[in-house]
Symmetry: C2
C-alpha cells in the first residue's frame, strides 16, 4: 500500500487540498472557494475537501499517514491552534483546528502558517531542495516570510518566527497598517505599492497614476503600478524603484544577518519583481556584504501555485520524522 | 581530576584567556596587550597565554579538555581558520589558528568569531541561560551581533550568520563604511555616533559639539555625544535620539522576524543605552508587533567583561558534546 500525505492550504479566497507523495508529487487535488457556503463556513469546507480526498485515497489503494494544514496569520504549531488575527477567515481566529480535524478523521494533523508551509514546500520540493538553510520572502497582497535554518523551521517563541515582512527598512518612514513604521511591506508588498500610488494619484502630483484603473484611484492595484512603471510613467517608476530598493535592503538584512544557502522571493508580486530582476539584484548588491551575497543562491520566481499545499503535506513528514539531525560542529 | 576548559578572547588591543569550569566559573585568568611585542605578534602572545594557563591547570590538578578561541571578524568555524578581513590584528588574516594551536598543544581547539563566543557565554552562563533562543546585539566601536536558535549558533553558509550590525535600517540612508548604506552600525555604533557628531561639528551647525573633546572634532567619541545629550545639548540629543530609533528598528527586525526568547543588548556602548533604556524600549515598541515583543525578554546590560572569554571556553563543550538535541515538533 502506498503511503501518502494530505495537504491543505487555507487562503482568504480559496482552500486547496491534495494527496501528495513523500517526494512531493500531487496524486489528486481539490479546491473550493473559502466562503462558498457563506461567511463562517471555512471549517466545514476544509472538512469536506479532506473527506473527498480520503475517499480518493481509498479508491487509489493509498494510505493517508497524516494531514498537514497551512493557515493564515500567526499560528501555534505546538497546540495546533490558529492565532487570534485572521481577518480574511475570521471564523478561524483562535480555533483549535488541528485537534478538531484529528478527532474528526482519526489521523495525526499538523498545523503551521501558510508561509511556513510554503517555505517547507520550497525546501523539500522546490528551489531550496537539499539546502541546509532557506529564507522565503513572499510579497503578495501583504508580505510573508519564513526561515528554515539547519533543517528546521524558525517558529519563534510565540509563533512570529520569520515575519520579516514587517521589519522596518526605514526607521523614520511613514506609519504602516501593522502599527509599525517604515516596514518592508509598506514599500514592497502589493498593498503597499497600490496605497502609495493611490496617495500620489489623490495628491494631484501624478495625473498619469490617477488615470490608472479607469480613473478610480481606489481601484489602483500593484499590477497597474508595475505596468505603468515599465512604460516609463515617472510617478509609478519612482514607487517601483523604492519598492526594489526596500526589497534590496531586506535581502541584505537576511543575507548579512542569516547568511542562508538559498533565498527565494516568491508570492503574488514575485512575477513583477522577476521582470525587474536586474534592478532588485543591483539594489541588494548596494546593501549586502559581497562575500555573503555571493554565498547565497538568490532566486526570484513566481513559484508553483500548489507549493503551499505541497509544503503543508510535507509538514506531516517534517513533524512525524522529526527535523533533520544536527550536523556535528566538526567530524 | 577536575575537567576544565581553556577560553581565549582575541581583541584588537587585549588578549584575555582563562581556565573555566563547565559551569562557567573562572579558575584562573591571564591577559596581555595584543601587540605587546610589536606588530604581527598576536599568535605567539596567544600561545604564551595558553602555555601559562596549561601550567596553572597542572598545578591545580585539573585536566584541560580543550581550547576555545574567539577571534575578530568572520571566521570559518569548520576549518578553524580566521577570515581575510581582520584590520586590528592583520597577522590573523586567513590564518589556520585552530589547527596550528591544536598541533602545538595536542588538544582539541575550536574557533569562532568573538561575538558568537560572547553569545555562547550569555546563553550558557549569562542573560540567556536556559533559553531556547537568544539574539545578542553588541554595539561597541563597531556593531556585532549573534544568533542562537533552537540551541544552535547560526553561523550561516559562509560565516556571516548573525551580522545584523550591517542590516540597513534606512534604505535611502547615507553610505556606510562597510560599503553598504543606512546600516544599523552607521546610526547606533560608537564609531557611527562619533562620526555623525564630527560631521555636525565640522559643518558649523553645532558649535557645542565642536567644543567637545577640547575642540578637536577628530577626537570626539560616542561617550562625549551621550554625555552632551544627557545634558540637553540639542545636536548631540538629536544624534542620540536617531541612534535609539535605529536600535529600536533593529530590535523589531529581530523580534518580529526571529521572535527569540531572549534579546541581549550588550557591548561597549550598552551602558550608555542602558541609561536611555526607556527611550530605546519606546522606540522598539513603535516598530514591534506587540505580542512578539511581549514574548521576548529584552535586556540592556553592560555585561561581564569576561563573558567572551568564558563563552570561548564554552565553545569546547558546545562542539564536543554537539549542539542541543532538536526538540520534537510535538511530543
Amino acid at each position: 500500500v502506498t503511503e501518502v500525505l494530505l495537504g491543505v492550504d487555507i487562503g482568504g479566497t480559496t482552500i486547496a487540498a491534495g494527496l501528495v507523495t513523500p517526494a512531493g508529487a500531487v496524486l489528486a487535488e481539490a479546491a473550493t472557494p473559502t466562503h462558498r457556503h457563506g461567511p463562517g463556513t471555512a471549517v466545514p469546507a476544509v472538512e469536506s475537501l479532506i473527506q473527498d480526498l480520503l475517499a480518493q485515497a481509498v479508491r487509489q489503494g493509498a494510505t493517508v499517514v497524516g494531514i498537514g494544514v497551512g493557515a493564515p496569520g500567526i499560528v501555534d504549531a505546538a497546540s495546533g491552534c490558529v492565532g487570534r488575527h485572521t481577518p480574511h477567515v475570521p471564523e478561524l481566529a483562535g480555533f483549535a483546528l488541528a485537534p478538531v480535524l484529528a478527532a474528526r478523521f482519526g489521523l495525526p494533523v499538523f498545523l503551521d502558517n501558510d508561509v511556513n508551509a510554503l517555505a517547507l514546500g520550497e525546501w523539500m520540493f522546490g528551489e531550496g531542495r537539499g539546502a541546509e538553510s532557506l529564507v522565503v520572502l513572499a510579497p503578495g497582497t501583504g508580505f510573508g516570510a519564513a526561515v528554515v535554518l539547519d533543517g528546521r523551521l524558525v517558529r519563534g517563541v510565540s509563533g512570529y518566527g520569520g515575519e520579516f515582512g514587517h521589519a522596518p527598512v526605514k526607521f523614520d518612514g511613514p506609519a504602516c497598517w501593522c502599527g509599525g513604521r517604515g516596514c518592508l511591506a509598506l514599500y514592497a508588498s502589493g498593498r503597499g505599492i497600490a496605497e502609495r500610488a493611490r496617495e500620489a494619484a489623490a495628491s494631484g502630483r501624478a495625473p498619469a497614476l490617477a488615470g490608472l484603473a479607469g480613473g478610480e484611484a481606489a481601484r489602483i492595484t500593484a499590477a497597474h503600478v508595475f505596468g505603468a512603471a515599465l512604460e516609463g510613467e515617472p510617478a509609478a517608476a519612482a514607487i517601483v524603484d523604492e519598492a526594489c530598493r526596500a526589497l534590496g535592503a531586506a535581502i541584505a538584512t537576511i543575507v548579512n544577518g542569516l547568511n542562508p544557502a538559498v533565498l527565494v522571493i516568491t508570492g503574488g508580486v514575485a512575477a513583477s519583481y522577476a521582470r525587474l530582476e536586474k534592478r532588485v539584484l543591483a539594489a541588494a548588491a548596494e546593501y549586502c556584504f559581497r562575500d555573503a551575497l555571493a554565498a547565497t543562491r538568490l532566486r526570484i520566481v513566481p513559484g508553483d501555485k500548489r507549493i503551499t499545499m505541497r509544503g503543508a503535506a510535507a509538514l506531516v513528514v517534517y513533524e512525524m520524522r522529526g527535523p533533520a539531525r544536527p550536523r556535528a560542529g566538526r567530524p
